[in-house]
């Protein structure tokens, strides 16, 4: 039978391991695992039966089948984690022997590994460390609770259990602390192999972020989220606020209600002439499960080869962003196209659905007729938005299928998506190539980390219009209606519309300061720890004074760190019996004995004080008169019954008398 304490620790380690992976597997899996945990705990306390071998095997097969059907694979982190959680739960039901308990601790550690592989946020890492501690403690408890032999018969008074929960936790914590320096050294110097040994499909959990479609309300949903989209650090000056347009998906196709990116095609990228200064910056993308990388308006080139720089100046990665990704890019915020828009491109960027939004079409035709140039047409449309009684709101009324008609002629209240959509529809109806660009506007400056935080709440959409001789020109119709949007965050602008926690933070500057620091710490964590790579390892070596470090220097650093650590641990844990300082009485007695020894009468190890006194009587009767009472007083204090009062005074007296005692050396010694 399994010791109860051991069972408790093992199940706790497992349950916490499951909890750490709760958000990556379907909810029924952890629920089932917790059910197994509960079952096992109940079975140890109440007359509840555990399932037999047959039931367990059937259950295991069934669950493997369910996982296989649900995930369509057993390879991959999500499926693997799900399987580990379920099989661990079933294993728990048959856990009795010490071996089973060790396996459970191993499974818990594997769950911790899965959690590490899934998410590496700074906030979670203390949890991971705590769980590692928990598992190590469980290991100690399992080892201790199960290692009493078949017939343990310690003799003597039953002492209090000295390896309680507290002792086990302390021991595990101390062991982990000893291990910490090695872990840091290995982290720095253990050569990271670049590239993967095998590819495993990454999980794609839906997260908030821009998608490749836009309906009038879709961006509104994003603005209530306080999540970080990415962080951007400029090398040199940052662009002014009204130029901080971060380009995301460019949408080309409109069905009267929804804007879509549409399929790619043989569209050419117009060669550009760059105006204004170049901005160089580094972006750290948070995982979005999307393939969009963001650039400050128009990037000059793709940051690396795994990213496509499309004809509409968008950065699209080969793989979805599932972990924090960093890249550097250079951008211009003002450009001029030197080429022509191709015929195919013109058709695409002026297409409108047939028979939809008729009022918008009429309005556009009227405006176009009144304008002498493309620029005048754009200005007329913007003027209409500015003076037409339009309102900027995060909670606009819903629109029908003919969304731009409804917006322009009925509700007149909208968010950036509404304005951009209606404006582009107007432009296209007037024959001017135009498209919707979604992305982010602005960003919050973090003075501690010296970077901009761009949040989901900064999501924005604007328009681009093709003007002959100038190329694609950015037009932001929202800026006409709500010009303050350019300089201020949405939270500032429409505090009632955003989520309560964000509002709470916003209204308290000190809290905002704390959060700024926290965010800077997070950014540091992501930059320096999470994405610590082989190159970073070499950089560390360079800082340590190696010239042109390479793999062999890394090996040397690794080996010497290991050696230093091993000797440190050996020294720390070496057997160094500490002397216990004897108490005052013992010291007084030792002093007395020492004096007697120098006087020529040494106490034999087997002699007690009274026997010693007898020896002195025999060998040195001249000393007996002075020494005997002292020895008797010592014996009385040491072995006599305890007295409530006077004991301390007697002890002090004895110490004094021993100190004053002067003994003549023996006659033999004198003769010598």
């Amino acid at each position: 039978m399994m010791p109860r304490r051991s069972l408790e620790w093992v199940t706790t380690a497992f349950a916490v391991g499951v909890a750490l992976n709760m958000d990556r597997v379907p909810a029924w899996i952890p629920v089932l695992a917790f059910g197994f945990v509960l079952w096992r705990l109940l079975a140890s306390a109440l007359p509840v039966r555990l399932p037999g071998t047959l039931t367990r095997s059937a259950l295991a097969l069934l669950l493997v089948a369910v996982v296989l059907i649900r995930f369509r694979t057993l390879n991959g982190l999500s499926a693997g984690t799900a399987l580990l959680v379920l099989m661990g739960g079933i294993k728990l039901l048959e856990t009795r022997a010490q071996r089973d308990q060790y396996i459970m601790v191993g499974a818990s550690l594997f769950l911790l590994l899965a959690a590490c592989l899934d998410r590496q946020e700074l906030l979670r890492s203390p949890l991971y460390l705590l769980h590692a501690w928990l598992c190590c403690t469980a290991l100690g408890v399992v080892a201790h609770a199960n290692s009493s032999g078949s017939d343990p018969r310690p003799i003597g008074p039953p002492s209090a259990p000295i390896f309680g929960n507290h002792a086990a936790m302390t021991l595990a914590a101390r062991t982990l602390l000893y291990a910490a320096p090695l872990a840091v050294a290995l982290f720095l110097f253990f050569p990271r192999v670049p590239g993967a040994f095998w590819a495993v499909p990454r999980s794609s959990v839906a997260r908030t972020g821009l998608s490749d479609t836009m309906t009038p309300g879709s961006i509104t949903e994003l603005t209530t989220s306080y999540d970080v989209a990415f962080r951007a650090r400029f090398q040199g000056a940052a662009p002014p606020p009204e130029e901080r347009y971060w380009r995301g998906p460019v949408l080309h196709e409109f069905d009267g209600y929804t804007w879509r990116r549409g399929p790619g095609g043989p569209y050419r990228m117009q060669p550009l002439e760059y105006l204004g200064p170049v901005y160089r910056y580094q972006v750290s993308l948070e995982p979005s499960s999307q393939r969009w990388w963001f650039s400050l308006d128009t990037a000059k080139a793709a940051p690396n080869t795994r990213v496509l720089f499309t004809y509409d100046y968008q950065l699209i990665a080969a793989d979805p962003v599932t972990e924090v990704t960093t890249y550097t890019a250079a951008s211009h915020t003002r450009t001029r196209a030197t080429g022509e828009l191709s015929g195919l491109g013109r058709i695409r960027e002026t297409a409108l659905p047939h028979g939809r939004n008729p009022q918008t079409l009429d309005l556009a035709r009227k405006l176009r007729a009144d304008s002498r140039s493309d620029s005048a047409f754009v200005a007329a449309a913007l003027e209409l938005l500015r003076t037409g009684g339009f309102q900027y709101s995060l909670t606009p009324p819903a629109l029908g299928p003919d969304s731009t008609d409804d917006f322009l002629f009925k509700t007149r209240t909208g968010f950036c998506g509404h304005f951009a959509s209606a404006f582009v529809a107007l432009m296209r109806a007037g024959g001017l190539p135009a498209r919707v660009v979604t992305g982010y506007l602005g960003g919050e400056w973090n003075p501690i980390g010296q970077y901009f935080i761009v949040r989901q709440s900064d999501a924005h959409s604007w328009a681009e219009v093709w003007i002959e001789g100038q190329g694609w020109r950015r037009v932001d119709p929202t800026a006409v209606v709500a010009p303050e949007r350019l300089r201020r965050s949405i939270l500032d602008l429409l505090p009632d519309a955003v989520s309560a926690p964000a509002r709470f933070v916003w209204s308290r500057p000190w809290l905002n300061g704390v959060l700024e620091r926290w965010d800077a710490l997070n950014a540091w964590w992501n930059d320096r720890v999470v994405r610590f790579s082989y190159d970073d390892q070499l950089r560390v070596l360079e800082r340590l004074g190696f010239d042109a470090p390479g793999a062999s220097q890394l090996g040397w650093a690794f080996a010497s760190a290991l050696l230093v650590w091993l000797s440190w641990v050996a020294w720390q844990l070496g057997h160094r019996p500490r002397r216990i300082r004897p108490d005052r009485l013992a010291r007084a007695y030792a002093r007395l004995c020492h004096k007697l020894m120098r006087a020529g009468v040494e106490r034999q190890p087997s002699q007690g004080p009274l026997a010693y006194a007898g020896t002195i009587d025999r060998l040195r009767p001249d000393l007996a008169g002075a020494v005997r009472p002292l020895l008797l007083r010592y014996a009385e204090l040491r072995f006599g019954p305890p007295r409530p009062s006077g004991q301390a005074a007697d002890l002090t007296g004895l110490e004094r008398d021993v100190a004053r005692l002067k003994l003549a050396p023996s006659t033999e010694t004198r003769r010598r």
Partner: protein
């Protein structure tokens, strides 16, 4: 193959360490350490974790792996330290009867300030019995020792082992010392106890008057019944004294090996053993006569032991002087 290796190893260790004499302090040169099965499993787990961490270039997973690697190495040191410095102060055996189970008692001391967990001791391949020792603690541990036959049971070596603190490593050592346990003959026999050695002169034979005759006071000896102690005198701060009466009920018994004709040697010894036990528990005085050996009439625990020891070692080699 395994057994052969084990035997070779045992011989090598014996040659290497020599014979121990108490008290034994376990120093580093005699401690052996290897990973346990759980430790090997843990190592494999770490390798898997390392590969996964490198494959995903995942810093958290790698750091976790490195922490656990350090943990394993530290636990190796700790396992070694758990046994290092332990002192075995005494190894004693209690005589027992044949066909029963005796025990070897080890007195173990932890001279250091740190606690020791699950220090195990075992004979041969038995599952070790374990104790926990807090700093500067002493504790005894009893190991079961089978006593199949009368005579001496010899223990060549004692295993001291620990797997703690985390069960990943196993530190052990062998102690070699001549430990012997005396095994009395199994008390067995159906013959009636011979009543008094009447033919022997000088033996007082008393009639049972129902009143015990006061003989006097004598100092307390081990094995005296507390009922016979003169507690009143003790209360007057005199040493422990025992009131001695002539045991009126107690007769003098003579147990003679030669008198038991018609039985084999072992059967005779068992019969004698049975009589000694019975006579002692009845509080009688008895005398044991073996060929070439005579133990004068007496009673008490010591006398019983002398008689039973004589029976145990009768006819065996290496009789103690």
């Amino acid at each position: 193959m395994r057994a052969w290796l084990r035997a070779r190893m045992a011989r090598w260790i014996r040659r290497r360490q020599g014979l121990d004499s108490l008290p034994v302090t376990l120093l580093a040169r005699r401690l052996y350490i290897v990973p346990t099965r759980a430790g090997i499993g843990f190592g494999l787990l770490l390798i898997l974790m390392l590969i996964a961490g490198l494959n995903y270039a995942n810093s958290s997973a790698l750091f976790l792996t490195f922490v656990l690697m350090g943990f394993t190495l530290v636990s190796m040191h700790q396992c070694h330290r758990n046994l290092l410095g332990i002192r075995v102060l005494a190894a004693t055996t209690q005589p027992t009867f044949a066909r029963g189970q005796g025990s070897l008692t080890l007195l173990i001391e932890n001279p250091a300030t740190h606690a020791r967990y699950r220090i195990g001791a075992a004979l041969d391949e038995a599952e070790p019995a374990t104790i926990d020792l807090s700093g500067h603690a002493r504790q005894a541990i009893a190991l079961p020792l089978a006593a199949p036959r009368r005579g001496l049971v010899r223990v060549d070596r004692v295993l001291l082992i620990t797997r703690l603190p985390f069960g990943l490593f196993r530190t052990w050592t062998w102690m070699h010392m001549p430990i012997e346990m005396l095994v009395y003959p199994f008390p067995h026999g159906s013959l009636p106890m011979p009543s008094g050695g009447g033919e022997r002169p000088g033996v007082r034979s008393r009639t049972n008057t129902g009143l015990d005759e006061w003989l006097g006071l004598r100092p307390f000896r081990d094995g005296d019944s507390p009922r016979q102690v003169d507690w009143k005198a003790y209360a007057r701060e005199s040493p422990l004294l025992v009131k001695e009466y002539s045991a009126s009920a107690a007769e003098l018994r003579l147990f003679d090996f030669e008198a038991l004709r018609g039985l084999g040697t072992e059967a005779r010894l068992e019969q004698l053993s049975s009589w000694v036990v019975a006579a002692e528990s009845a509080g009688e005085r008895y005398e044991l006569v073996l060929p070439g050996q005579r133990i004068a009439a007496n009673r008490g625990r010591e006398h019983r032991h002398r008689c039973l020891a004589a029976l145990a070692l009768f006819g065996l080699e290496g009789l103690p002087p």
